[in-house]
């Protein structure tokens, strides 16, 4: 099934292993597609969250776990009924383990045209310290 890349590339994947706690809202949860790249000691994370905007995205960092939670308000054209569907409508959620080298205080996030951009600068490496050995 994996070789059918054309399909898996496009079809949204539904999140299967959710937390033990159930969600109170009854809606589907999808895994957003992401790009993560590094440039000039900054790690960028781009996530596709169509249908969500800056007011509905929550990014939390708890210990080493970065959680992206994007809510999507299901919008249906008034008086129209869904006749044929290729994509499901639902929220987006994904978690990442991030390393200690990221400067937590400097993480910033923006949303534009349904794409979340997280900018995560790496912290400057701790200056090496020489420990002098003293004779006793």
């Amino acid at each position: 099934m994996k070789e059918d890349t054309n399909k898996t590339d496009i079809v949204k994947q539904e999140e299967k292993n959710q937390d033990l706690a159930e969600r109170t809202r009854e809606s589907r949860v999808y895994i957003p597609k992401v790009d993560i790249y590094e440039k000039d000691d900054v790690i960028y994370l781009l996530a596709d969250i169509p249908g969500s905007d800056e007011n509905m995205v929550e990014v939390t960092l708890d210990k080493n776990v970065l959680t992206i939670d994007a809510r999507v308000k299901p919008e249906r054209p008034e008086d129209y009924s869904l006749n044929y569907a290729e994509y499901g409508i639902g929220d987006f959620r994904r978690r990442f383990n991030i390393s200690d080298e990221i400067d937590r205080e400097k993480i910033s996030a923006t949303v534009k045209n349904g794409v979340l951009t997280l900018t995560m600068p790496k912290s400057a490496p701790a200056a090496s310290r020489k420990i002098s050995v003293q004779a006793v």
């Binding site: 059918d4 993560i36 790690i43 960028y44 596709d48 169509p50 129209y80 290729e86 045209n113």
Partner: protein, 147 residues
């Protein structure tokens, strides 16, 4: 005994997974060939009888100027381009799941469109196109007169 009991749910889970994968396989082998499931962007079609259709497509991260819609008879064509965030190739990718580049998709509609009244909006990464039925094609009500 305990060992056995433990293994049972996981077996069911495996069966479930297998079934899902089988369904996916059949889906891609049959229905998708007819319905063009593999096309990008994925679309949803909304219908209002006698009025027309609304087509929505998930197109996150596209510059509005790069989107192009054309109506030719009863065929709607969506073309566009998704730019890579940076072109210099100086970056190192840890993960790349999003797709970049040009795309084009044509959708044949089941009715002639009033091309003057077609409207489209692009918001939050979702494209929405209103396609009203051409006035000449709308069902006409014929009043019955008493003689």
């Amino acid at each position: 005994m305990i060992y056995r009991r433990r293994s049972v749910p996981s077996l069911w889970e495996e069966m479930d997974k297998l079934q899902r994968e089988m369904n996916q396989l059949f889906d891609s082998a049959f229905t998708n060939r007819l319905e063009n499931h593999v096309d990008f962007p994925a679309i949803n079609v909304w219908v209002k009888p006698g009025e027309g259709q609304v087509i929505t497509a998930e197109l996150p991260g596209i510059d509005q100027d790069e989107l192009d819609l054309k109506i030719n008879g009863d065929v709607l064509t969506i073309t566009g381009k998704r730019e890579k965030p940076n072109q210099e190739n100086e970056e190192t990718y840890h993960r790349q799941e999003r797709i970049y580049g040009n795309f084009s998709r044509s959708i044949r509609l089941s009715f002639p469109v009033d091309s003057e009244k077609v409207e489209a909006e692009y918001e939050k990464g979702i494209l929405k196109v209103w396609l009203p039925i051409a006035e000449t094609e709308k069902p006409k009500k014929i009043s019955v007169k008493a003689v």
